[in-house]
């Protein structure tokens, strides 16, 4: 129901927020923060406290001193509350700073080697020492995509089937499946790589993209399986009841009622799995290594991938090569974030769809 417009019945009455911080007070706080920042800067010059961490310590101490002074006339509970507010804010800032630093560093150090051809060239005809417009990471990107595709082709069906087993079929192996999947989620990535090394690389006699893809699959399967199970669990039983009430058998209900509802959720599960493994380095160091050119045959030999490309560029040790490593990092980070945003977008629609579909199902059930 729409409420009557205030101005009609009660002229002159405006909603107020007397408890809120006024804009004036907010500006004053901001100005004061700048003053404190400057004072902290001065402190770093004249005292042994130096560099950005010294400045941070000085800034923190000034804020604490200010807050203690402000509440000196109030009771101990206000003082403690105010000081702890400063403390928690600082802890949060300290927690966030490394990641912001990483984002900035990757951008600043990475953009230098980017040029349009970067995504299409490889390092076959160039050394890490060359100018930036020679050579690129196209081979690494392609390699990563090939291996991730192999991993996805294996894990997505298996993971979805496991999820369906755990939620719909619920047979006698349920506990075992869930237990094993959960345990293997904790496999250290290097151990997965070691496993594939001894079971695939050595018998085959060579490193390969297939081996890399398999190692990634090992890491991806628990994630996809677990997410698939959670997404399927989200589907309320109302929906399944509606299917059964209409006379559908279990398989039909599962395939035609439950799965379409969570289609985007399952795709999200896959994308999240991909986002997780595309940055894995350790398993690839043991299975697919790195190479300089485009490789299209997964079993042809070593394959480059973004992580191993970055790694080898970095280990090369020169300034140019580490710039290339940063550029590779920029591409990798952009890919990971892109997948994440995609998964988030799809995940939101998945949840929304489950809600609307279950509402429809409930209506259907009540009617029949």
């Amino acid at each position: 129901m729409n409420s009557v417009s205030t101005s009609d019945q009660y002229p002159g009455i405006e909603p107020l927020r007397p408890w809120a911080i006024t804009r004036q007070a907010r500006l004053k706080n901001l100005f004061r923060s700048f003053v404190f920042a400057f004072v902290a800067f001065v402190v770093t010059i004249i005292t042994p406290l130096a560099n950005i961490d010294g400045w941070a310590v000085a800034f923190l101490l000034i804020n604490v001193a200010w807050v203690v002074g402000q509440t000196s006339r109030s009771g101990s509970k206000e003082r403690r509350d105010a000081v702890l507010r400063v403390v928690f804010t600082s802890l949060a800032v300290l927690a966030f700073v490394p990641w912001m630093s990483i984002f900035v560093t990757v951008l600043l150090k990475g953009y230098r080697a980017i040029y349009p051809g970067y995504f299409f060239s490889d390092m076959r005809t160039s050394t890490p020492e060359d100018e930036f417009n020679i050579g690129g990471a196209g081979h690494a990107i392609v390699g990563s995509l090939i291996m991730v595709t192999i991993a996805t082709l294996i894990t997505l069906p298996l993971g979805i089937l496991s999820g369906i087993y755990l939620t719909e079929v619920r047979g006698r192996l349920t506990f075992l499946v869930r237990f094993i999947v959960q345990s293997m989620a904790g496999v250290p990535s290097v151990v997965a790589g070691l496993f594939i090394f001894t079971t695939v690389v050595q018998p085959m006699g060579k490193y390969s993209g297939l081996a890399g893809g398999l190692a990634l699959a090992v890491l991806m399967l628990p994630t996809v399986s677990r997410t698939a199970e959670e997404v399927l669990k989200l589907v309320p039983d109302d929906l399944r009841s509606a299917g059964y009430a209409l006379g559908a058998r279990q398989w039909r209900t599962a395939i035609m009622v439950v799965l379409p509802t969570v289609k985007s959720g399952l795709i999200t599960a896959g994308i999240l799995g991909v986002a997780r493994v595309i940055g894995e380095t350790a398993p690839l160091l043991l299975t697919s290594l790195n190479t300089n050119g485009f490789v299209w045959n997964p079993v042809g030999g070593t394959v480059a991938s973004l992580p191993t490309y970055i790694f080898s560029m970095f280990m090369y040790g020169t300034e140019y090569s580490s710039s290339r490593a940063w550029t590779g990092s920029l591409v990798l980070l952009a890919l990971v974030f892109g997948f994440f945003v995609l998964a988030r977008r799809l995940g939101a629609t998945a949840v929304q769809k489950v809600k609307t579909d279950s509402r429809k199902a409930r209506k259907l059930k009540n009617r029949s």
Partner: protein, 282 residues
Amino acid sequence: MSQRIENMTQQNADTSTPTRHQFDSGAEFRGLETRGAHAWFGSHHALADVSLRFPERTVTGLIGPSGCGKSTFIRLLNRMHEFIPSAAMAGEVLLNGSDIYDPSEDPAAIRLKIGMVFQKPNPFPAMTIRENVLAGIKLAHLKRDNHDDIVEQCLTRAGLWKEVKDRLGASGGSLSGGQQQRLCIARSLAVEPQVLLMDEPCSALDPSSTLRIEETIKDLAEKITVVIVTHNMQQASRVSDFCAFFLTDGGPGYLVEADATRKIFTNPTDSRTADYVQGKFG
């Protein structure tokens, strides 16, 4: 008891039927009072123009069908309304003549004077019974050296002392629903408020616990002011000295009538009040 009500009714005869702008601003009124109180959630106008007086040491019941703003109103009285991010208000809420929403007032100090008991009993699960009672004192950093006395006094006033005096170290969650609610009342009393607000305190309890708490409320009113939101009209008629009837027409909730309980239930001024107390709706 009824004589006291008669006297008060006489005193407040002029102002017991609230309309706008009818208070003499220099009035020497002791107690809790609102003047033209409005409440919003974002752009949704939830409560309009409520002017009420809650005289000292009385029990006032807020009655009316659900959705007419009683809970919103009661949260205006101890500045809990502002915790909702989109909340806004207008008007004045005065405790002994001074506006509790004045920017110079500390909300935490206001809430020490105006306490609240919630609908669902919620003792702190991680604390013992004794710690629960003293929780308010600890939270407010009040200096008291007689903790044991305070625990005994508050539990006695809340009607719980006899039942728990031998197990003060038990967890707060080990009590029954009615006992938990009385523990919450004792907890609120420990900080010595002048006013106790109760938002449907018995709606989650069984009838015998409800009656015990109603007795407790009547005892409490000897010392403090009580404002109680209730859906249960029989409860309102049993427990309160005054009643305020709220209603909504689909828009903001508003006050229809406020008067001595006996009058509201036997001979109300407004026909809508009469319909409600006779059970014709709500």
